[in-house]
Amino acid sequence: MTPSRRAFADPFVVSVALLLLLAAAGLAAVGLGWKGAAGSLSVSVQITYIVSGVFGGVAVVAFALGLLRVQGRRRRAARRRAEVDRVVVAAARALATARGGQ
């Protein structure tokens, strides 16, 4: 399996890519909502664009960024666990070497 294919088989990588796409879509919705509201003089139409486009887009962006932050924390915790595991293994090896020397 190539590294890129292996990366896309990982749920972490795919979820991060999807969340980035979702955040981009939210920003696009904000832009479209702004454009629609600016293109009309009717307050009722402007409110429609702002609620559906701008508020909806901001909600999508916040959702995506929140999940990205959660994934980042999970990754950081996983790295910390891996480093602790490495330290434990190294300490065990050092201890075994010291006992063998005695």
Partner: protein
């Protein structure tokens, strides 16, 4: 043999001649011509909100014209909060040849996009009324609009586009213009507009150039003055089916009346006479209409399903163990996110 065949052919030709003359006369009477008179003058008014009061418009203070809000050479009809804020006057000359009888006349107005000022045109309730006073062909004239007579009126039917159109039946106006002066027609919000409603419909004026939206078009269908011989034109209706009771004298023509004597009237004659009366086809009448103009973007109904799928996926992805060895190689950018 040959002589008898010739005799049969001559008799058949003599018998069919009256039918041919009736058909040709009928065709001459029912041939429809089409005229497309152009709009010669148009303009729209922005009545002050006080015009909606029972006391009338009252003195109108000089206010800036709202024409600056809309592109030049556009026409407008609209309500804001249930109060009329724009109406459009159109004038055209439906000159028809002498003796012509209009059969169907329509005014078709393509609706301009939102960039020209249209707001929710699919919800517009526009009615066309007779203008009883001359109007000034201006754009966004602020003031009391010229008088109208909505006893002669017709609803504007909305048809989805592109471009969406409003269509008005002009037949009542053509009838009135036979005995009154032609001051044009006015397109204004229907009196049945619900309170609080807001919509706006923009059109292209007749002198607008450089726009994809064409101006209003008028089509008048009429029957020209009959030119067929009077004897043939007196019987324009289609010939009935052969009649066994009366001997079918019409089909037979001269031959039928000469060779077939009509039988005496029987008891079935009234029933047969009644069967000749054309049956009036009655269409079911709508007592109400359920539904609306539809959805502009029906694909939006897939959004909840998409959100559900995304939620399920993220719920699964966020509960999977993170393989740090893969992340170290493939997603170094996550360092900034995690920090």
């Amino acid at each position: 043999m040959r002589r008898s065949t010739l005799l049969v052919a001559v008799i058949a030709a003599m018998a069919l001649f009256p039918m041919w003359t009736v058909r040709s006369a009928h065709a001459a009477v029912t041939s429809t011509a089409v005229a497309s008179p152009a709009v010669t003058e148009d303009g729209w008014y922005a009545p002050p909100p006080t015009c909606a009061l029972p006391s009338g418009c009252g003195p109108v203070s000089p206010t800036p014209s709202p024409v600056d809000r809309y592109p030049a050479h556009t026409l407008h009809v609209g309500v804001t909060g249930g109060i009329e804020d724009a109406r459009t006057y159109l004038k055209f000359d439906p000159a028809l040849p002498d003796g012509a009888t209009p059969t169907k006349s329509t005014l078709t107005m393509p609706i301009a996009p939102s960039g020209d000022g249209s707001v929710q045109p699919e919800t517009a309730m526009v009615v066309a009324c007779l203008a009883t006073a001359p109007f000034s062909p201006g754009e966004g004239t602020v003031g009391a609009p010229p008088a109208v007579d909505c006893n002669t009126s017709g609803p504007a039917e909305y048809a989805a586009g592109p471009p969406a159109t409003l269509t008005v039946d002009l037949s009542p106006f053509l009838v009135r213009w036979k005995d009154t002066a032609n001051n044009g027609i006015v397109l204004l919000p229907s009196p049945r507009t619900a309170p609080g409603t807001t919509w706006h419909v923009a059109f292209s004026a007749h002198d607008r150039a450089g726009s994809d939206v064409p101006p209003a078009s008028i089509e008048v269908r009429y029957d020209p003055a009959p030119t067929a011989p009077a004897s043939a034109a007196t019987e324009p209706e289609p010939e009935p089916a052969p009649d066994v009771v009366t001997g079918g004298s019409r089909i037979g023509g001269l031959l039928g009346s000469a060779l077939v004597a009509p039988p005496p009237s029987s008891a079935a004659a009234p029933i047969v006479d009644e069967s000749k009366v054309p049956r009036v086809v009655r269409r079911p009448r709508l007592v109400g209409q359920v539904g609306g103009p539809g959805f502009a973007y029906p694909v939006v109904f897939a959004a909840p399903l998409l959100l559900l799928m995304l939620g399920a996926y993220f719920g699964w992805a966020l509960t999977q163990p993170v393989d740090v060895s893969v992340q170290m190689r493939s997603a170094p950018a996550m360092e900034s996110v995690s920090s």
